[in-house]
Symmetry: C2
Amino acid sequence: MFGFKLLAADGLARRGELRTPHGMVQTPAFMPVGTRGAVKAVTQRDLLDLDAEIILGNTYHLYLKPGDDLIARAGGLHSFIGWDRPLLTDSGGYQVFSLASMRRITEAGAEFRSHLDGSLHLLTPEKATDIQAQLGADVAMVLDECIASTAAADGARDAMLRSVRWARRARQRLVTLREEGAPEVTMTNRGQAQFGIIQGGIYPELRTESVQATVDIGFEAYAIGGLSVGEPADVMYAVVQHTAPLLPADRPRYLMGTGMPEDLIECVARGIDMFDCVLPTRNARNGQLLTSRGPLVIKNARYAEDQAPPDPDCGCYTCRHFSRAYLRHLYIVGEMTAATLNSIHNIYFYLDTMKRIREAIVFGTFERLRQEFHQTFSRRPQQ
Amino acid sequence: MFGFKLLAADGLARRGELRTPHGMVQTPAFMPVGTRGAVKAVTQRDLLDLDAEIILGNTYHLYLKPGDDLIARAGGLHSFIGWDRPLLTDSGGYQVFSLASMRRITEAGAEFRSHLDGSLHLLTPEKATDIQAQLGADVAMVLDECIASTAAADGARDAMLRSVRWARRARQRLVTLREEGAPEVTMTNRGQAQFGIIQGGIYPELRTESVQATVDIGFEAYAIGGLSVGEPADVMYAVVQHTAPLLPADRPRYLMGTGMPEDLIECVARGIDMFDCVLPTRNARNGQLLTSRGPLVIKNARYAEDQAPPDPDCGCYTCRHFSRAYLRHLYIVGEMTAATLNSIHNIYFYLDTMKRIREAIVFGTFERLRQEFHQTFSRRPQQ
């Protein structure tokens, strides 16, 4: 069911096609994040209109509420949320690291208290695999141990080696589920793929070691984890540049949790095929629109009477119908519609950027697109 | 530009067509409320998909933020909010009564402090007319004095008589604006109609007096105000039953701020053509879905695994794609999408009810629809 086909390359940038039980995904792809089974502030038909080909769900959140058992009884996450295109669930490792309280990592797994009600949970590699088998996304991720980007090499190595051991257990568990099943687990998607995750912090030699050990286990594809957690962009780019080429060329490469629009371009340039990030939707809710000229902070008084669309070069629903002045008004008075219209724009901008990247790779003009993008897009808000 | 054509009648129930500078409205009509220039939690394209033919804006809110001058410079409310179908603005009288603090009513107008920043304002009949001329909705309302439904006859009569005097001033001001203009007022919709408002509390003789005096002034049409403010449904129905037939038969009759679905049917049965109410959208945000079988409180644990749509008889986007279980999950975890999907359903239910009413009037089956509706719809939540 799962497959990946390379269609073109331009330098290290790759144009591909991911096949999943719920359809195809054109790569390089950006995946909007639907943490709790909904991409915040937009509906599934908004996502179809935006032509989002794949979205994410979060194992940690969905396990706590409404529970993977309930979702399995509803036929799996696709059925539960009314989304029949591809879905990916992350493993929950990052959320245990960033959200849960009283976190304790042992060889068995990650013990933590729910950020919702303080209840105690043990997330093991096997448990994370079981939960995701019940959710039934088209791609599941192995449980990994996440550490701060400032971790010293010793700590980073320990976490990386533990992540490898956990990855081996997660794979073994999925093989068992596939071959023998387990009475307590309802597999709602027999074609589910499982991705391994490369760790190793900012240390090239640890990344190399992680790649070798993880690829040795054997997954449908591989992700690079532990980046975009506070380290400078240059450091992140360097780790990606080192790591991506080590991964099997015939499998998609997924950079987890990245990032700003220019990060997507820079990491495609280094061989990445898949991205996810809460940034476009979170920034939208905070009133920051990402445009071809850089971020635009819609609450600024200078937009109070600005009749131009947020991004004159954008073809999204928001830019085709509404002015900066109206969006500012909605944001200032606190209308929920502000979050919706801003999210539609930001997701469109990300997906459209990926589309332009894909076209440029096919036409062999990726370098030109990259240079042009850097000339027009600035991280700093527009003055 | 403004006109009303009666197409059919069934008993006192009327089927008509309202012509405005921004298109036609089929009556009896329900108008979703977009207080601050947005119907809460839905986008304009959701409203088009729902086939909402007319929506409301609120003079009080829009005057305070972003200001009618700003909206006039943007070309008027239609242009500002990106809605080119009919619009109606209420006069702000009810919001001064219900929201503002330190309200003081004098013959000049309503002095109040903004609920936003405490700033002092004087809303006169002329000012309310000017503001609405700048907003440029297709229908403007005169400023009226709103009182509690429990007001004694003396107080109700004073407020009614003052409302009549204010109505005369409001009409005079609009005539002046139309004929001579005013340097401080930009009329953004030359075809704007102005509706008078009948007051008089729960006292039939006061309602009769109000109708005579208000019709004597002469407006494009008339609204019944001061109801659905806490009085029992029977009392409200009785006032409507008394008042509606006194109004000119060749003009639409608008019952302001009503109500529950069965109220719409009961008031159509008494000759009402237009309705507005925040109830469908407000209840949606509070997790109450209005269905053909009565209200459904989505957070109830009994819906946790209910794979049925909210209303199996409903054709709305929400009911066609999502289960009660998913909507409950979204509501429980606090996703904004819950408000959106619930609002889409509730608005659809209201608009669909009006459509069924219109069809029944044409086919002479309105009484049967009315009986059937009361048999299936209950005010009490489903057990």
